[in-house]
Symmetry: C2
Subunit: 147 residues, 2 copies
DNA sequence: CCCTCAGATGCAACAACTTGCAAGAGCGAG
DNA sequence: CTCGCTCTTGCAAGTTGTTGCATCTGAGGG
């Protein structure tokens, strides 16, 4: 089964119609294998199919996010990043100083979610968390610079 | 000392100039004592001083956020919410279904931050976290509805 | 009390989305 | 194969927030 057919099947299972616009957006995110900004997705899609409008891409991204096929994350104060969700759930540590993004394994986050559930009865939906902060390199660097 | 004078003093300590625009933004957030959207802040400020431009309010909010005088939080997929930071750090549980926002004590979050520090050497900056999920009421409600 | 200048502001253009509406297109029924 | 319902899409206008630039002003130095 080709990648396109898989995508089509996934769409159907999620209750969407199979349209070229949705397939293009999905393929762009799958092949990127990384975070893509909405703008990048638009660029990728329109490179193959210039007739697809921006609003369609935005709406498709929203629909795929609602169906849990892709994740939507806000890194810092910039654009929104989208990512194909085939892998295990994972999270990110974003350094506010150097901007580097580290992957964070799910375990620590699961423990956190369990605590929220135990203490507040709140069923946290932490499918894709972005935690701001200062990475090791930067905190070392500023110590040196501070002296 | 009046509230305005306190705000002025706070501004000076943070290395800002004391201007009427900044004071108005600060007063709006202090008196609200709750989250305000950027739009609400603009409305409040311009009610007292119609000449202040939107961009000034946005820039002021950004500057105050950078100086850690106010917090900036993204609830769900809507606008950005600002809040005066006089109280202890606190966090929020946002129900994706009913939209209710619960306060979350700092303790659970501190534990989470410590884990990130221990396992990844990452100094997380969780001054104002918003956790999406489903609240107790809604998860009960959907159980009943589902039967 | 006046000068100076970096920081603050207003304005308008720009960027990043969102939405209303009419036209188009999957896909299940017949 | 055709019909028709409903989901999608394109277009254009509307929000929400950001940025470049010229002007203005708070506040320390003279």
């Amino acid at each position: 089964m080709t990648s396109r057919e898989e995508s089509a099947e996934t769409l159907r299972r999620a209750g969407h119609r199979v349209t070229s616009a949705k397939l293009l957006v999905m393929e762009a995110l799958r092949h990127a294998g990384d975070h893509l900004s909405a703008t990048s997705v638009i660029y990728q899609v329109r490179r193959d199919a210039p007739h697809v409008s921006e609003s369609t891409v935005y709406r498709t991204l929203g629909a795929l996010r609602d169906s849990r096929l892709i994740s939507e994350t806000t890194f810092g104060h910039g654009e929104v990043a989208y990512e194909w969700l085939e892998k295990r759930p994972h999270h990110h540590l974003v350094c506010s100083q150097c901007g580097v993004v580290y992957e964070l394994s799910d375990e620590v986050v699961i423990g956190f979610a369990k605590q929220l559930s135990d203490t507040h009865g709140f069923d946290a939906d932490l499918q894709h968390l972005a935690v701001p902060g200062i990475c090791l390199d930067c905190s070392r660097g500023s110590e040196v610079a501070g002296k």
